[in-house]
Symmetry: C2
Subunit: 350 residues, 2 copies
Amino acid sequence: MKRKVTLKQIAKELDVSISTVSKALRNSVEISEDTRQKVQAFAKLYNYRPNNIALSLKNRKTKTIGIIIPEIVHHFFSKVITGIELVANKRGYNVIVGLSNESFDKEVINMQMLANGSIDGFILSIAKETLQQQDYHHFTETINQGMPIVMFDRVINEIPCDKVIVDDIKGAKLAVEKLIGNGCKNIAIITTKDYISVGKLRTQGYLEALEDHKMSPKSSLILKVDDKLLSENHLDELEKEIEQLFKSNKNIDGVFAVNELYAVTAMKVARKLDLEIPEALQVISFTDGVLSKHSTPSLTTVSQHGQKIGEKAADLLINRLELDDTDEAEEDHYETVVIETELIERESTK
Amino acid sequence: MKRKVTLKQIAKELDVSISTVSKALRNSVEISEDTRQKVQAFAKLYNYRPNNIALSLKNRKTKTIGIIIPEIVHHFFSKVITGIELVANKRGYNVIVGLSNESFDKEVINMQMLANGSIDGFILSIAKETLQQQDYHHFTETINQGMPIVMFDRVINEIPCDKVIVDDIKGAKLAVEKLIGNGCKNIAIITTKDYISVGKLRTQGYLEALEDHKMSPKSSLILKVDDKLLSENHLDELEKEIEQLFKSNKNIDGVFAVNELYAVTAMKVARKLDLEIPEALQVISFTDGVLSKHSTPSLTTVSQHGQKIGEKAADLLINRLELDDTDEAEEDHYETVVIETELIERESTK
DNA sequence: TTTCAACACGAAAACGTTTGCGTTGCCCAA
DNA sequence: TTGGGCAACGCAAACGTTTTCGTGTTGAAA
């Protein structure tokens, strides 16, 4: 087992100084052609690579991005990571991942672990618990210490940082308008309680679409499901609530669900009640994940382009990191990029 | 914007030496109660945290684990990461992720980027391209440099390292035996070409199960799908192949699929052909992902316990890392842990 | 008064780099 | 012979820690 070779060892072996070795490897003009070749040959032979940690310490930058997300077993978030990793790697950066599990404490701890020199900047999406408690001191402190943050999807407007979001309102409107265009007269929405920001926004889009088409929303058609039912363990309760919705509103001919799970569950219930999809009932969901594609019938969805979000976020962060060095001018000008949603039509609509 | 405070700055401010500050913060007995309190108060006020990079350089360990996986938008892999992150964090480690995208080159480059001091050890699952080319020099070189590796799921027996795998043969046997126990007489398998190791093993389990029950396998019931059809873009081809299988073997009453996608597609085709599930046809798949749970009917699956795999892999790696310091005895004794599969029964079987 | 321990602290090395600057040795021109 | 100039290399600092080994001061014992 031969440990990694260092400049010092090469220097000793070739009986020159450390600086000579370093300069020879970086093709400095100060070094004679002769020794340069000798050093480079030796380095190649022993497969020398500069130690990243030492470089990080010297340059005071790690070329590493920290990602903090609520969970990773989730189509959207893993797509975002894919996007981040793609451009990060292309631009010479590594990616280090922390999971908050939707917990405030874990979010804070994870950020502290990474903020002490391990990374140059954060890309994150805020935990639900943090959103509820509205305690954002860890974000502002991090930023105050000169470490830039890029937030995506779940963001806080008041925090001074770059942001990448999808236009939830517009996306929802798009979906509902599709249903209206397809002839639906009684469109229900299955959404979350209002404290989930994206749920609220998508509900708003639903309402605006109805309004724009002179259709008055009926409260009986708005089902606000408790967020807890999103966990896999309460599927039956979710089914019951949806069944109740369908049974007490026999005239429903369109459903807009704010996520895949609500949508497939709605389709399941519909099948049970012998409602033909898309003939008698059309369904559209937000979030284009793996379920939508492979459910029967396959789901028409509003795609958020998670990978694009990740790519954009990484570009924003790295741009800021590499700008900080020279130009301090742009210091306090932050961007909010909106990634357009796209309606992907499948079998659940006409 | 106040930059992160260092020992040096504290020392200067309090007019003591750097060493005194360091010792005071670590509660050394060499320091008087008086100055200790002063230093600690000051440090707390300015929210001092030791710089991780400097510590890494000094201690020659980063307390960071590198993960290299083929892709992250995949239920199994993200579950594994969840497990790794869980125990890594608990034991004071961070996790840095690299994606190979099933490409040999990206796998090599990613490992090189991380092996230069950024991490203490690897947890990885090998890219398909690497498996085909059978070029494993980057693994052996890494290990030779004293950096331990733990492989999971897709492993190479010849490489000297710890491994965490599932018993694919046994899991497949379990599934097929369930079908046999449920009265199936003509069980088909939808699997991959043999160069995919897990596909091969699962096929082997299928054959063994039949054999054990004196049922002779029929080649017409074995569908080896080209791996490329796993990509989302070739769903229709996949459907056609399966439809062909069903049509030319009208007596099929059980299907074992080596992954979720094959299984849900098979169910889709069955529905088209008016085969009732589970009455006329029972289906079991390998890999318990999100599709199985939410398909209609929901799928009986063989769960691999991805999270447990991740947890075990992380424990193995960290154990070895923390053992290396003191005990060099266990150097060349490597473990292969088999995580038991579990049959999760749902609606697609009787 | 001398001596010696205990106490409280500082200097310096080390981890592995990069880089500005100083220091040789040599050649050539004056 | 002297001096200037250049080529080729080494020294040392710096990044932020921790830790070993001094070193100076004090107090008490001899």
